[in-house]
Each structure stands twice: as structure tokens, then as C-alpha cells.
């Protein structure tokens, strides 16, 4: 959860809510939450599972995953 909260603290444009899925069936139904953690951004982007910081931040911002460096020797 903490990464989303950290992002909120970082930018005045970002709001982050930790939702206890079992208590709000209307929201879990609306966003088709069948597993946790599930992250929903602006009610459209979906991120499943817990990700490392860089991937989570890029996912929330809708940015592509970083290109991996070419293996040495190429």
C-alpha cells in the first residue's frame, strides 16, 4: 500500500486510498476485484499484485516499462 501513499505525498495532484476490499462490496464489484492487492488509477488503469517501486510508479503513470540494458558483449 505504502507506494501509492508515497506518491500522494509527493504530488499535490495525487490522491491515494487504501480500500479494505471486504468492507465495500459495491467498490469491489464495480472494479471487479477478485484478488488483492489490486490498484485502480482514475477508475481505468488496473495494476494487479504488488510491484517493485519503479514498475509501480510507471504503471500508475501509464508509462511503458523501462527498456532493459543489452547484455554485455553485444
Amino acid at each position: 500500500m505504502s507506494l501509492a501513499h508515497r506518491m500522494a505525498l509527493e504530488s499535490a495532484h495525487i490522491r491515494a486510498t487504501c480500500v479494505e476490499a471486504t468492507e465495500f462490496m459495491d467498490l469491489t464489484r464495480k472494479f471487479r476485484v477478485t484478488g488483492v492487492p489490486k490498484t485502480i488509477v482514475n477508475e481505468s488503469i488496473e495494476i494487479l499484485g504488488a510491484l517493485p517501486e519503479e514498475l509501480f510508479v510507471r504503471g500508475v503513470l501509464g508509462l511503458p516499462e523501462p527498456e532493459t540494458d543489452s547484455p554485455p558483449g553485444e
Partner: protein
């Protein structure tokens, strides 16, 4: 009655010692017909506030104080809004932060009380360069 053992209270108190500025936990609930989880949330927040003088709990009546609910974008209860030095941190919890989420709450309180996101420089740069419009992040979790 305390929710935590004396040992756990000591551990949490130690973590919370990092806080440098006042943190207010706004708990949105209602007097009549509040869900049972709202009472649990209140207990959890009171326990946290009892461990550090900089932490304060303020209950907001969701039914009677509609302007404040609107101000913070609250449409479900119980909801918790964290303020750092009376300023909205935009960090929220929906539901009782019990079980595993108690740890998330402690972390969020520390973030608010230090006003430092602790994100990597790369993440901060990505956010600064790409976030120019409101972004609403909801993370669904379960207590266990």
C-alpha cells in the same frame, strides 16, 4: 482496553518517534447506524494517538458535515484522512485499518509526520515530469 500488548505498544511507539510534525487523523463516520468497522477504526486510531503526543484523532460526522466530506472527497465510511500540520496529505484509508493494514497506517502516519515520501530520486523525477492532472489511486487490500 488496549488492542496491543505492552510489548507491541513499545515497538510502535519507537517507530512513531520519527514524527516531527503534528498528524491529524480525520475519521469520517456517523453517530446513528454506523458500521461496526467504524467503531474498530476509532479504537485503532485512539490506540495510535495514545502512543505519540503529535498524533490527534478528530471524528467527523459524515451525515451532518457534508461540506467536509465533499472537501476531502469522502463518499464511504469509515474513512480516514491524514493531515500533516493541518494540511491534507491526500493519503486515505477506507475501512478499519486492522490486521495487516495497521502496519500500513503506521507507515502512512510516519510519512505524514515527516512529510517525506521516501521515494527514489528516479520515481520523484518521473512524477514531477508526468503528473500534471489529478490522479486518483485506489489500492484494494484485505486485512489478512
Amino acid at each position: 482496553m488496549s488492542l496491543l500488548s505492552e510489548h507491541d505498544r513499545g515497538v510502535v511507539r519507537e517507530h512513531l518517534a520519527k514524527i516531527q510534525q503534528p498528524v491529524t487523523l480525520l475519521l469520517f463516520t456517523q453517530t446513528i447506524g454506523a458500521p461496526e468497522t467504524a467503531l474498530i477504526a476509532r479504537q485503532v486510531l485512539d490506540e495510535l494517538a495514545s502512543l505519540n503526543d503529535l498524533i490527534r484523532v478528530e471524528e467527523v460526522n459524515f451525515v451532518l458535515e457534508k461540506d467536509r466530506a465533499a472537501q476531502y472527497g469522502i463518499d464511504h465510511i469509515p474513512a480516514i484522512v491524514l493531515l500533516s500540520n493541518d494540511t491534507d496529505t491526500r493519503m486515505r484509508f477506507l475501512g478499519a485499518p486492522a490486521g495487516y493494514e495497521f502496519m500500513s497506517l503506521i507507515e502512512a502516519v510516519i510519512l505524514a509526520g515527516t512529510n517525506d515520501s521516501q521515494l527514489d530520486p528516479e520515481s520523484r523525477a518521473l512524477i514531477a515530469a508526468n503528473v500534471t492532472a489529478p490522479l486518483d489511486i485506489q489500492v484494494f487490500v484485505t486485512p489478512t
